[in-house]
Symmetry: C2
Subunit: 364 residues, 2 copies
């Protein structure tokens, strides 16, 4: 079992990563002072529930905890104010009080939604995260929780740190291959922004990760969470440094916006976005090696590195304009300088971005 501490002063918390941790889940709840008198509520989605909800409920009940649970639809559309209201109804009906905890069992969507319920129910109750995807390693560090608004994603939310995060590597075994690969995209990103050695390790161990070998996945999550924890510790409320975590996201979000439903997973979109960023880095003077190694790391994990040719360049740029603040033909971008190091460039010419998007399409 690996343990990583996210250092945030009085809001610090540990991330436990290991095989079979769910079997002994109650001991972690006891250790962290979660009340056995006040009911706790597990929030999960309809995809994850059949695999782990019964086991988790049984283990917590056996440990003396009172458990209420709620299952939402899977997918981004569940992050809504309507679901917040519904989950608060369930919490009230279940008798949750100020000493209760909300437990997120699932991926990033469930974490964001359950986290915002925890942040706002009775002005804030305890929150525990039990991620069941690789991608969720990213959202399990940093306390950013939110729901969506019809006009904007993640616009209604809070910073609400969990009491602890419990990563049972066994739960990753049920992940479809495509989601494993997409999840590795954020793992590789954490190497690219912060830790060259870890990028080398990812390239060497990509096969083991893609085939879900627990030891490799455990180490990858430990290192990925570790980079994010360092960044977040230095900038909890995203005033400056934390922006480097957006590597690949400017192009990536735009691709998600123009892609059809489920055509590109988030991790796939930012994989392509990170290639675009590396190309920008080379334009700013970085070695061609930067692009080569970035592509190697992502391709080793089975991730796409090209924009499908039928995507419209103008539509991608328009989506970027909508997402970010533009001023006079330039855009803010996270640009790699070398493997393991990035910079925020406040004034990247949109024309460069257009050219790079074209390149990414032509090489398809």
């Amino acid at each position: 079992m690996r343990q990583l501490n996210v250092e945030l002063g009085e809001r610090s918390y540990p991330i436990y990563i290991g095989e079979g941790l769910l079997d002994e889940v109650s001991s972690y709840f006891v250790k962290h002072g979660i009340s056995q008198k006040s009911p706790l509520m597990i929030i999960t989605d309809e995809k994850v529930a059949p695999f782990y909800l019964e086991h988790l409920t049984e283990r917590l009940s056996a440990g003396g905890f009172k458990v209420v649970s709620a299952i939402v639809a899977s997918g981004e559309q569940s992050k809504s104010l309507a679901n917040l209201e519904l989950l608060v109804t369930k919490a009230l009906e279940g008798g949750l009080d100020r000493k209760s905890a909300i437990v997120a069992l699932g991926g990033g969507v469930v974490g964001d939604l359950a986290g915002f319920v925890a942040a706002s129910y009775m002005r804030g109750v305890k929150f525990v995260q039990i991620p069941t995807t690789i991608l969720a390693h990213d959202s399990s560090v940093g306390g950013k929780v939110a729901v969506n608004h019809p006009l904007a994603k993640n616009i209604i939310g809070a910073f609400h740190q969990p009491e602890f995060v419990l990563y049972d590597l066994k739960t990753l075994q049920s992940l479809p291959d495509r989601e494993v690969k997409a999840g590795l995209s954020e793992v590789v990103k954490h190497g690219l922004i912060w830790d060259k050695e870890f990028v080398d390790w990812c390239i060497a161990n990509a096969g083991a990760m893609v085939s879900k070998q627990p030891e490799a996945l455990g180490y990858a999550l430990y290192k990925g969470c570790g980079v994010k924890a360092q960044v977040v510790s230095e900038d909890e409320k995203e005033s400056s440094l934390r922006a480097i975590l957006n590597l690949g996201h400017t192009i990536g979000h735009a691709l998600e916006a123009v892609a059809g439903y489920n055509e590109l997973l988030h991790g796939e979109a930012i994989s392509i976005g990170m290639i675009g960023s590396a190309k920008l880095g080379v334009r700013y003077g970085a070695s061609e090696d930067l692009l080569r190694v970035t592509a190697l790391a992502l391709e080793s994990c089975g991730l796409p590195t090209r924009i499908p040719a039928h995507y419209d360049t103008d539509a991608i740029l328009a989506a970027m304009m909508h997402d970010k603040k533009f001023s006079e033909g330039t855009v803010v971008f996270v640009v790699p300088v070398e493997i393991g190091k990035v910079e925020i460039k406040p004034d990247v010419p949109i024309q460069w971005v257009r050219e790079i998007i074209e390149e990414l399409k032509q090489e398809d």
Copy 2:
């Protein structure tokens, strides 16, 4: 101009109280680093808007601020998730970003609603309070913001401290007499829990306050906010001490619940509740003087001290049971020991409360 500082570490903030402060409102915004580049949004209600919205907007615009405004219906029903969604729509359409501020112009309802918008929009933006009622002096200290859920009041919320509070005593001149008196109920409460001298001052100056003399109201708000600020500084997240602020609220909330719409204002209900609490204090051994002075202070301010005879005792008790946790025939109560000092009694017999409710009715 009086200034009071609410001490909450890095979340500390000042309350400015004085006549005509709205005229120079821009200088306060500049002093507190509110951005002139990012639009700010004033949230107010349909009762307050006709009096002060245009003036406030004009003064801020003249000071170089970009202003968006939103008007909600007045009354408790405006504290809804539906209004949160609507106000976030307005904020997005108005171009509010992370450096924007949300400004509450109005009473407690507007403060709670606007505060929760500020707490959750983009995971938290700056918040400024411009209260226009006496009652709002209470909610302007402590950072408790929230909206209601169909099953429970204030159940979805946050602790979100303002950057500063600006109390322009001129805005109180438009308050109906009944609301002035009801607002004084919380002022007197702050004396009763903490400061005997201030209770004496309230009795001596009740006439001046009721007739809205600015000097008297300014001092009353300064002292009332001061008591609450001291309590909140010691217990920001309401783990223990802050509960003493609930003096009179256990019976008061129950009376509000059984009263018809607008039959009892909040301040009127807790005035009666505080008489009930004083009666409990006497049962626990306090001097009869406690009850006499409590009644004198409240009656001097023109507040009711009796329960209308037609209210059903069982209904009041049932509403109390719904509101609070009961165990085996007892209830938690804030009970005065002497004027200026209260205790939390965890096990007040419900039978005593029943008898006191009957007394409060018979003396009508």
